[in-house]
């Protein structure tokens, strides 16, 4: 009852453009005070806030962001795209194919979808334009490729999920690798099909010689090295994810420095930018935790559990319903707030159904990927728009719609064959 009212107010405030963290905190504190009294609500909020920011494990978020930002500063995007271009540029839609490959490479060292989208848009779009690619295909491939940023580890969304649900971040990261590769494959397949139907959208480029390929690949070795150190370190148990993030950030720092891409001002800017993004994320997490405590106090987990049991549906159909709710929410909410708003409510149900939390985490990320590119609020699409202002929103969304097909296909694959997700982590 109180919980339902609270959620409606949060949702309304968010729709009215009140910052998500502010909306969740306001309702969380107010609702908690109504259920108990002012003193407990005040204390609970302060303690939650203090414990959240004074946290060793959560330094994993800023450190992985920092790694991605240093890499971004190093402008490795160009080299990644060139390397991908020399490999697949000559096939039909080859530049779009190269975009997907380069996005996958960038995703392997960046945890953010937005960063992946932004940096590839700057590099890949001008090239596709030069070759006369249709905006609809260029934009679609960049926006879709950008979503790989949160599926292929490292991933900020997986981090937040792991933190909220106390699921092993190591396992979540390792679990994202195979679905990430499948996503790359399906996106590339989609481009092949699309350019078969509409050859004019994506003419092939020139074929590169093996020498050129070798030279281009040699330039991206630091990306491969960083990925191997960070993910290999986690997989082999040499570092915890938090430590791996620190090592990865430091490696990226040295790399940017070595490339001469890091002036004093650039260094400070990168650090400040990372701190600001982290503060933004932490503030929303704070909101989710306080709101979660209110919902908990209002008995929502118990009621929802009872409701779900009362439905008498198989776990499969409950999952389908959850996916459906997420896709609907994704139409109006941005990914971080979606995860933070829903996971505390839905996760207890998942646990009670005996669903593997690692597998569910990957499933959620894939649904969030869809949300990132689905209208009316697809953050990746807006991001793309701010980098490429001359392309209309309609064209952007149309391009993206094409890539919803492989996204849904991948979702079906992972639901039908959970081993895709769980095989690698089971070996750890």
């Amino acid at each position: 009852m109180e919980a339902g009212f609270g959620l409606i107010i949060v949702f309304t405030l968010i729709m009215l453009r009140v910052p998500v963290g502010v909306a969740m905190l306001a309702v969380g504190i107010g609702g908690f005070a109504m259920l108990t009294s002012w003193r407990p609500a005040a204390f609970m909020t302060a303690q939650t806030a203090y414990a959240l920011v004074n946290n060793y494990g959560l330094s994993v978020i800023p450190l992985f962001l920092l790694m991605g930002n240093f890499i971004n500063r190093a402008r490795i995007g160009n080299e990644l795209y060139d390397a991908a271009h020399t490999m697949v540029g000559h096939v039909r839609g080859g530049l779009a194919q190269a975009t997907i490959l380069a996005c996958g490479g960038f995703a392997a060292i960046s945890g953010s979808s937005m960063a992946t989208t932004a940096s590839m848009a700057r590099v890949a779009y001008p090239s596709m334009r030069r070759y006369g690619y249709a905006d609809i295909l260029s934009a679609g491939s960049i926006a879709a490729g950008g979503t790989l940023g949160i599926l292929i580890p490292p991933s900020v969304v997986l981090l937040v999920y792991g933190i909220l649900t106390e699921t092993s971040i190591s396992k979540l990261f390792i679990a994202g690798i195979v679905p990430g590769l499948i996503a790359v494959g399906l996106y590339m397949l989609t481009i092949l099909v699309v350019t078969r139907i509409r050859p004019a959208w994506g003419p092939p480029g020139e074929r590169a010689s093996w020498g050129e390929r070798g030279r281009a690949l040699a330039k991206v070795w630091p990306v491969i090295a960083l990925f191997v150190i960070v993910m290999g370190g986690i997989y082999g148990g040499i570092f915890t994810p938090t430590e791996a993030a620190g090592i990865g950030a430091f490696g990226a720092f040295l790399f940017a420095l070595a490339r001469g891409a890091l002036s004093w001002n650039g260094l400070v800017e990168t650090l400040v930018e990372t701190a600001v993004t982290s503060a933004m994320i932490f503030f929303v997490i704070m909101g989710a935790l306080v709101l979660g405590n209110f919902l908990n106090m209002a008995g929502l987990p118990r009621m929802l559990g009872g409701f779900v049991r009362g439905l008498d549906l198989s776990p499969f159909w409950i999952l389908m319903i959850i996916c459906g709710i997420y896709i609907l929410l994704g139409m109006v909410l941005e990914s971080m707030s979606m995860i933070l708003l829903t996971i505390p409510i839905i996760f207890p149900v998942i646990v009670s159904l005996g669903i593997d939390p690692v597998w569910f985490g990957i499933l959620i990320v894939m649904v969030v990927e869809i949300a990132l590119i689905s209208p009316p609020i697809g953050l990746n699409v807006y991001m793309l728009r701010s980098v490429l202002p001359h392309i209309g929103l309609r064209t952007l969304f149309a391009g993206v719609l094409i890539f919803l097909v492989p996204d849904i296909l991948k979702l079906i694959l992972v639901i039908a064959f959970p081993g895709i997700v769980l095989f690698l982590p089971s070996l750890m």
């Binding site: 204390f43 609970m44 939650t48 494990g57 106390e166 040499i238 915890t240 908990n296």
Partner: protein
């Protein structure tokens, strides 16, 4: 009107703390009050170390927590954490509770809440991946996860390298060889499936240290109860609650030891000479505690002597050896 006491729970819902103590205890409270007072176990309303304050500030009505989680706050209760006392959780806990009632009650370290009981679980023994404490320098340089200051002192004394990490990190670290071992209750080794990595256990009578635990209730919640219900709650608190927890821990510990022995874990009892050596090396921890207790206005020496005599008395009464 019926009163529901909100118990904020930060351990897994299936943990024996909940299933074997809190739930049956709440059931008995409900029966004793003819349904007027019941206990509702809720998902945690705050971080584990914050649970004392959650109760003090009336966020939750009841909570279980560990004294070692909030350093600087509790000094006298470090008595319960001392090394080389007794293996048997019931012996240790009853002696500890009696000492608390007699010597520490007035110091009121749980100020702002109503203490329903305190106790220890099984002793911390040295569990390692392949190593045994066969001499004072046998484990020198090994990396050990430490949960708090007392274990850190023990670790340093034995020449090991203390690594501070969260419990969840520690489970990952041991499975990957980042750390070589931990001081643990054997119950934890078994219940958290760490037998594959914590293959060797070095045992000293009375343990290398203990974890001191408690349940507190909010004063305001207590005041809401009628006199009859207060009496019913009182009857289920104090020694009655201490016993419940201690018996649960003891049976968990015995069960785990049985399973570990079946599964091939190597147990090594420190020989008497080595026990003595370790005891001498760790004696400073007791001395430091006595000093700290004196500073809090408690006769530390007398309290410690009483604690030890109570251990002896209760052990004899229950007929359990160390």
């Amino acid at each position: 009107e019926d009163i529901v006491l909100r118990y904020s729970n930060w351990v897994p819902a299936t943990h024996p703390i909940i299933t074997r103590v809190i739930e049956p205890w709440g059931q008995e409270l409900s029966e004793a009050t003819e349904g007027r007072v019941s206990v509702e176990v809720m998902p945690a309303l705050g971080p584990p170390p914050g649970h004392f304050d959650l109760v003090a500030n009336e966020v939750a009505d009841l909570a279980f927590s560990v004294h070692g989680y909030t350093p600087g706050r509790f000094v006298l209760t470090q008595l319960g954490e001392l090394p080389l006392t007794h293996n048997h959780a019931v012996v240790n806990s009853l002696a500890y509770w009696n000492t608390y009632e007699r010597y520490f009650m007035d110091a009121n370290e749980h100020e702002g809440t109503r203490l329903l009981g305190l106790w220890t679980n099984g002793p911390y023994q040295l569990t390692m991946n392949g190593d045994l404490l066969t001499s004072m320098d046998a484990v020198e340089g090994k990396r050990i996860r430490v949960p708090g200051p007392v274990v850190e002192q023990v670790t340093n004394t034995l020449g090991m390298v203390p690594i501070s990490s969260s419990v969840t990190d520690a489970y990952e670290q041991i499975s990957r060889g980042v750390i070589d071992g931990m001081f643990q209750q054997l119950e934890t080794v078994y219940n958290f499936n760490l037998t594959e990595y914590l293959t060797h256990v070095s045992i000293i009578p009375g343990g290398f240290a203990h974890s001191s635990q408690y349940v507190v209730m909010s004063e305001a919640a207590y005041e809401r109860l009628s006199d009859a219900d207060k009496a019913a709650l009182d009857a289920l608190s104090g020694e009655a609650l201490v016993r419940r927890f201690a018996e649960m821990w003891q049976s968990e510990e015995e069960e785990a030891i049985g399973k570990l022995e079946e599964g091939g874990t190597v147990f090594y009892d420190l020989p008497p000479e080595l026990q003595e050596e370790v005891g001498e090396a760790l004696a400073f921890i007791r001395d430091e505690w006595v000093e700290a207790a004196n500073e809090r206005g408690v006769d530390g020496e007398a309290a410690l002597a009483f604690y030890e005599s109570e251990i002896e008395r209760i052990a004899a009464e229950l007929g359990v050896e160390n």
